[in-house]
């Protein structure tokens, strides 16, 4: 529904000029008839919104939205250097605007632009968040960084000297600030392949993946094994025998019963007790350690 509204807004853009031209004429009578003027709220937008909240007239809503496209554009521009096309930001910002129009309470006496700004900006920021970049730094900046270093090489050769920032900016079609930013930030945030071999005194060494640490499962298993052996030894002889036969040799309770010449019920009982004792012993060991 919101998207629909946005596209309608686009359609209405052409009509906006005509509407704007007609506005002054319409404005005066509306101002006179509106009770809001008396309460000190004089903005055209606020009057239209009050009218809209009363009538629910879609054309009014459209007109308000169209009227505030410059606000959306103004706000979207503030976020334009974060690597998303301005048009997209205006699009999502417009959704925020439409929501703001529907939520605005014209009787509360605040300016619509002030009310709508957080909603519009919220929508734009959510858009960035939801983008969920695989990397923290937008690709645009990385590309800009690469383009800048290429341009630096090219220009150095061509000019026979190190190029200035404005020259690099012109070459890569970015602003000077963006260029500086790309040079400054791009390097710091660059990713490195795990297979890259960092140079050490001019000699290439092992790759990063070779020297990255990881949990040694074997070591932990060895520790656990040691604890268990000690605990098993502390168990009563018959209990420890049942644990070994049941869990180390994978025998069934019936088989264990035959081996030990006792009933299966008895094995079951002894096994439960043995496991409880083991748990207790292991816990005690950990406390001691």
């Amino acid at each position: 529904m919101a998207a629909d509204d946005v596209s309608r807004t686009d359609d209405a853009t052409a009509a906006a000029a005509a509407a704007a031209a007609a506005t002054p004429a319409e404005k005066t009578p509306a101002a006179e008839s509106s009770p809001v003027t008396e309460s000190g709220l004089s903005g055209l937008a606020e009057r239209l919104l009050l009218e809209y909240s009363r009538t629910g007239d879609d054309r009014l809503r459209e007109r308000i939205v169209t009227m505030h496209q410059s606000l959306v554009r103004f706000l979207a521009q503030k976020f334009a250097n974060r690597g998303e096309p301005l048009e997209d930001l205006i699009q999502v910002g417009s959704i925020g605007l439409v929501n703001a129009v529907d939520r605005f309470d014209a009787t509360r006496g605040i300016k619509f632009a002030t009310f709508a700004t957080p909603t519009i900006v919220g929508e734009i920021r959510r858009y960035f968040r939801d983008k969920a970049w695989s990397l923290k730094v937008p690709r645009r900046l990385q590309e800009l960084n690469q383009a800048a270093s290429r341009a630096m090489d090219d220009l150095s050769t061509r000019l026979g000297r190190s190029p200035t920032i404005p020259e690099i900016a012109r070459a890569i079609g970015a602003t000077e600030e963006e260029t500086l930013e790309a040079i400054e930030l791009g390097n710091a945030y660059d990713t490195v392949s795990l297979d890259a071999r960092p140079e050490e005194n001019g000699e290439s060494s092992s790759s990063f993946s070779d020297i990255l640490g990881h949990e040694d499962e074997g070591l932990a298993a060895l520790e656990r094994h040691g604890d268990l052996t000690a605990a098993l030894e502390a168990l009563e002889e018959r209990e420890s025998a049942i644990i070994r036969l049941r869990f180390f040799q994978d025998l069934s309770q019936t088989e264990v019963a035959q081996r030990l010449n006792i009933s299966q019920m008895h094995v079951s009982r002894l096994q439960r007790r043995a496991l409880e004792n083991l748990k207790r012993l292991l816990a005690a060991q950990q406390m001691g350690a």
Binding site: K78, T117, L180, A188
Partner: protein, 153 residues
Amino acid sequence: MSEEPAENALVTLTIPCAPEYVGTARLTILGVAGRMGFSYDQIEDIRLAVGEACTNAIERANRNGSNGGGASAQIDMRCLVEAKRLTIEIEDNVRGGASGTEGGEAAEEEFSAQELGAVLMEIVVDEVTLEAAPNGGTRARLVKYLSDTAPSE
């Protein structure tokens, strides 16, 4: 990687109150906030707020240009770096009232860029204070907290 900087660090910058230098302020804060470990989005938010604060000062200077004047207009930016908090003070020496919107010439627009600038700042950083500076100008104080959790708000 160098170790974390000494407990509280102070970075100051003075620029002419002119649009050409807003970029310098934005780049400076990029360096400061980047060091502190803010995420890319958070850094961009901080830079947005700094840009708005500077732009406000410049617009005020332009408006009062003819009448006020006196010493050449400039902007002082002070960044106080603490373990979990970045405080940025942006102070100008432009006489003629804090955030006072005259709503004069630009009345045909449905919004004033200056007013929205203030709203924008409030959205993107954690605390915003606007006050009169001792030198007669305006001081904007912006605070952004560094959260240990994954950057999200």
